[in-house]
């Protein structure tokens, strides 16, 4: 799964870093810090109150629901 942080939507709540600390790093905006498993990415996307973590299927390129 591919992950994209929607910079216009991210509000640096910090929930993604809280649930996946080695994947996300949040300053004034969330940034990718390292690779994560699909499960971790899904958990983080669900935890994001701003809906700023978008997930895409690696083969089809289509956006998938977390």
């Amino acid at each position: 799964m591919k992950v994209l942080i929607d910079e216009g939507a991210c509000l640096a709540h910090g929930d993604c870093e809280h649930v996946a600390p080695h994947v996300f790093h949040v300053t004034d905006i969330a940034e990718l810090h390292g690779p994560g498993t699909d499960d971790e990415l899904r958990t983080a996307a669900r935890a994001c109150p701003a809906g700023a973590i978008r997930l895409f299927d690696e083969t089809t390129g289509e956006e998938v629901d977390p």
Binding site: L11, G14, V26, T27, C48, P49
Partner: protein
């Protein structure tokens, strides 16, 4: 460039973070009235009242922080502190937040705004069997949820007949109201307080509510500070009382100070956690009318969506609103 941030809440914190992230390396002074370093408020009416003690402090950002200090005056060139000090500035932000509105005759009642307020309320709930909450806005609702989880007999009073609709519209409001009813909260809606003593509240329909604890949560008023036209404002002091607005306004104030274009706001999200359920609203309800149970239209276009325990739905809702605009 010398920057002074008056206030040490979310808006000031985001302003400082955004200044640093965009390369400002001059001095930033942050002046906060509370004794605490900047911290995040949403958990005050959630985790703290569940007896949890999460670390609420925001990330460290390189500022000179003055806690327990108030600004008394802002001139065109200086911020004057209650210590008598004068801080010269090139750019200043007023982000002093808001203060709970109190009710006459209820001086003993608690309010909930700061970390110290939340710790006091958490402690008081330990020794109480019942609580009366005056005001069924976001804070009143979340305290009711926390009080029921602790098995306190809980009464929620509001002057409006449909206070639950304010945040989430009629569809979401109906859902919220049902959550409170199902949890056993006694509701007195469309009722005003006419008299109060320490443990007894009398309502305008002559109902009497007795409770060990009373919380007044009827709203906030901006903690304004007279200031000249060259300063920036962000957060609850502007009258917008939501987390997301404070975050965006703080960041955009920083961008303005640096001469950068403000960021475009995507459809706003507000949220509440009650009885283990997360309820979110994407978009805004101004001039909107219900269209279906949990969607709202303005001028025939989708303008807001309410999500019940569906945090992953924010993406889709946001996209649908953007596409409809």
């Amino acid at each position: 460039m010398r920057i002074v941030l008056v206030g040490a809440g979310l808006a000031a914190q985001r302003c400082a973070e955004t200044l640093r992230a965009n390369g400002h390396d001059g001095p930033i002074t942050m002046v906060g009235a509370e004794r605490h370093a900047p911290y995040d408020r949403p958990p005050l009416s959630k985790a703290i009242l569940a007896g949890e003690r999460p670390d609420l402090r925001f990330k460290d950002v390189d500022v000179s922080l003055r806690t327990g200090t108030r600004a008394t005056q802002v001139t065109r060139t200086e911020v004057v502190l209650d210590t008598g000090e004068r801080l010269p500035y090139d750019q200043a932000l007023i982000a002093t937040g808001a203060e709970p509105v109190r009710l006459p005759g209820l001086d003993h009642a608690l309010t909930l705004r700061t970390l110290d307020d939340a710790l006091r309320l958490d402690e008081a709930m330990d020794h109480a069997r019942s609580i009366a909450i005056v005001g069924a806005g976001l804070i009143g609702q979340e305290v009711a949820s926390a009080a029921r989880a602790r098995n306190l007999r809980t009464t929620l009073i509001d002057a409006a007949a449909d206070p639950f609709d304010a945040l989430m519209g009629p569809g979401g409001g109906h859902h919220l109201k049902t959550l409170h009813e199902d949890a056993g909260v006694t509701l007195h809606l469309g009722r005003r307080l006419i008299a109060a003593s320490k443990n007894v509240l009398r309502l305008d329909d002559q109902t009497t509510v007795t409770a060990d604890l009373t919380l007044v949560a009827i709203g906030v008023r901006p903690a304004t500070l007279p200031a000249p036209g060259n300063v920036h404002f962000a957060g609850d002091v502007t009258g917008s009382a939501h987390w997301e607005a404070a975050a965006r306004q703080g960041a955009n104030a920083a961008r303005k100070m640096l001469g950068l274009a403000p960021r475009q706001d995507p459809p706003a999200v507000v949220w509440t956690d009650q009885y283990g359920v997360r309820i979110q609203r994407v978009g805004d309800l101004r001039d909107a009318t219900p269209n279906g149970d949990l969607t709202y239209h303005r001028d025939g276009r989708l303008s807001a969506v309410v999500l019940i325990d569906d945090p992953a739905g924010v993406h889709t809702a946001r996209r649908m609103i953007k596409e409809a605009a």
